[in-house]
């Protein structure tokens, strides 16, 4: 019977072994599981960390400055699917940010441009109004106030213009070609401390019309910078220098200068290479260099601010290439051209027969009808009398002396080129009504003088009146001043009515004036 307990013992031992093996396996499995768990926990922590970094560091940095950090910092995730997805997220975010920024920039620029255009228009309107007021008011006190308003308005206009240019607008205001010194002084007109700006040199060069306004605006920004960054008691010196293939406007200030970082940033902005973001101009916005950069890139001049001025501040040099420069025509030559629309004597006969009013209609009022202003001198087709007969008129050509005088009074340039004022070619720039007016006046007063002379012979005690003291030049304002010494005095008077004003005293006949009682 001893076999039975033995068998039981064996069974038990085998069971124990199996249990033991199971236990060991269980332990093994558990240990593996826990290891995996630890690894997985680490991986989850790494991903959490990465996601946190994405949310708190990378995306804000992207949103701020559009600069991407490296995607995964943890080597655990290198090359993983998770990392690739993260990178895709970052990429999409970056492009979304860029799109949004571009749209915002565009919208901001469009809105600013529209607003600044409106302001610019107002400033220009106001400037016209101020100019008219300056013409109208003569008192120094009023003028003083007007000058101040004008100054403020110019600065206001410049600010609006600068922002508009930065937003892609054109500088506006078409100007004619202007000399370099006028351009610089135009820029001087637009800065606050214009009295501190001294233009030292003058050269005989001009800026072509399309570049005048942009150059004025750029120089104004440079002057404003120079004046703002220097002491109020220092001057800002402007020199104009012709260069090999252009000209330079050199602006020196005695201010604080720029440190290398500022100078580098300024250099980048001034070349116009760095695109300008109107939403990142800073507070207060600094757009001076950015505006200059935009203008320089668009119009082809260049500006540098990287040298020191001899006074310790910044020397800004604006270089204008030859393409933007021109020569102004010398003034004496320019004046006759400018006066070309005035009627010439030679042109008058061709023009006046075409004008039917005074010649063709045989109305009684015809002789007194004023001539059309285009007919400088009496046309050969003479007015007719009421009966339809041609009216005779006597007329002496103007003497050289008279023409010269007339030319001097109306156009001082003409006398600098005496050839144009000669009587032979008859091209003196003389407004015709003026000459005739003086002649008519002289005729009447000459008649009057002859009358008084005759009267004085009867009464020798009558003192001479105040005629003829000064008559170097006939004057359109005072007919009585031109009286006795006018060269037309001794000529028989041509018998046509003064134009432009209806003769109050009826038609003037040849030689004798019915309104002057002492003719003859």
């Amino acid at each position: 019977m001893s076999h039975i307990p033995q068998a039981v013992t064996w069974c038990l031992a085998a069971g124990l072994l199996v249990a033991l093996a199971l236990l060991v396996r269980q332990w093994w499995v558990a240990r593996n599981r826990s290891r995996t768990l630890v690894g997985l926990r680490a991986a989850i922590r790494a991903r959490d960390e990465e996601a946190r970094r994405l949310a708190t560091v990378q995306l804000p940095a992207l949103a701020q400055a559009a600069v991407a950090h490296p995607a995964a910092g943890d080597p655990l995730l290198a090359g993983s699917e998770y990392e690739r997805n993260l990178e895709a997220v970052i990429e999409q975010f970056r492009s979304a940010v860029a799109r949004a920024e571009a749209r915002a920039d565009q919208n901001a620029k469009a809105a600013l441009k529209g607003a600044m255009r409106a302001l610019q228009g107002l400033a220009n309107e106001q400037q016209v109004a101020i100019s008219e007021m300056q013409e109208r008011h003569d008192q120094p006190a009023v003028l003083h106030d007007l000058l101040e308003i004008d100054h403020a308005n110019s600065q206001f206009g410049r600010r609006a213009q600068a922002i508009a240019v930065l937003c892609g607008s054109w500088p506006g205001r078409q100007r004619s070609a202007s000399s370099l010194s006028d351009v610089v002084r135009g820029a001087k007109s637009r800065v606050r401390d214009y009295k501190r700006v001294e233009v030292r040199t003058q050269i005989d060069l001009a800026v072509v019309s399309r570049a005048v306004e942009p150059v004025v605006l750029a120089v104004a920004e440079l002057l404003d910078n120079a004046a703002r960054h220097s002491q109020p008691n220092t001057t800002v010196e402007v020199n104009l220098q012709p260069a090999h293939n252009g000209a330079c406007i050199v602006i020196d200030d005695a201010g604080v200068g720029m440190d290398p970082r500022e100078a580098q940033l300024a250099g980048q902005l001034l070349t116009g290479q760095r695109s300008v973001d109107v939403t990142r101009l800073g507070d207060p916005p600094q757009f001076g260099f950015a505006v200059i950069g935009v203008l320089a890139a668009r119009y082809g001049f260049s500006v540098s601010v990287d040298t020191r001025s001899p006074y310790g501040g910044v020397r800004a040099v604006l270089f204008l290439p030859t393409a933007l420069l021109t020569q102004l025509a010398p003034e004496p030559a320019a004046a006759p051209r400018a006066a070309a629309p005035l009627p010439r004597r030679g042109a008058a006969p061709a023009a006046s027969p075409a004008s039917p009013a005074p010649t063709a209609t045989p109305e009684p009022s015809a002789p007194t009808a004023p001539y059309p202003p285009a007919a400088g001198y009496p046309p050969p087709a003479a007015p007719r009398t009421a009966g339809g007969l041609p009216k005779r008129r006597r007329r002496e050509p103007l003497g050289a002396e008279q023409l010269a005088e007339a030319a001097l009074a109306t156009d001082p340039f003409a006398t600098t080129t005496p050839a144009t004022a000669g009587p032979a070619d008859g091209t003196a720039e003389t407004p015709a009504e003026w000459t005739r007016d003086a002649e008519a006046t002289a005729r009447r007063l000459g008649a009057f003088a002859r009358g008084t002379r005759a009267g004085r012979e009867a009464e020798p005690d009558t003192p001479p009146t105040g005629y003829g003291r000064h008559a170097a030049r006939p004057d359109r304002t005072g007919p009585d001043r031109t009286a006795l010494s006018h060269p037309a005095l001794n000529h028989p008077a041509p018998g046509y009515p003064p134009p432009g004003r209806p003769a109050p005293d009826g038609p003037v006949s040849d030689g004798s004036s019915p309104d002057v009682p002492f003719a003859g």
Partner: protein, 117 residues
């Protein structure tokens, strides 16, 4: 300095350097301006130089000078005051309006003539 100066480019306060009071108070629209010969033009602003050039060939009234310069008359007065002070320009008051004989005198002359003829 161009003959066709662009209006509005150089503002009047730059032309006068901010001043509005002429140094003398004797100018009016018909004051006659003549250039004094023999003064160098150095040191003058473009507008002043142009005024001297304009008046170098005879007398011009202040109003005419202003029209040629395309500047307000009051601004030209300021410039003129400086130029008169520096001796570049001479001014002369306009010739006063001549005293016309009274109508009674004219009537007497007329009567005398009629009596004679």
């Amino acid at each position: 300095m161009s003959g066709r100066r662009d209006r509005g480019l150089v503002r009047p306060y730059v032309v006068t350097n901010g001043r509005s009071e002429p140094t003398r108070n004797t100018f009016d629209l018909v004051t006659l301006v003549t250039a004094a010969s023999g003064r160098p033009n150095t040191g003058l602003t473009p507008e002043q130089r142009r005024m001297v050039e304009l008046c170098a060939h005879g007398s011009l009234s202040l109003a005419e000078v202003a029209a040629h310069l395309r500047l307000p008359v009051s601004v030209v007065k300021v410039l003129l005051g400086d130029l008169v002070d520096s001796g570049h320009l001479l001014t002369r008051a306009a010739v006063p309006r001549a005293q016309l004989p009274e109508s009674q005198l004219l009537q007497e002359v007329l009567d005398g003539l009629r009596a004679r003829l």
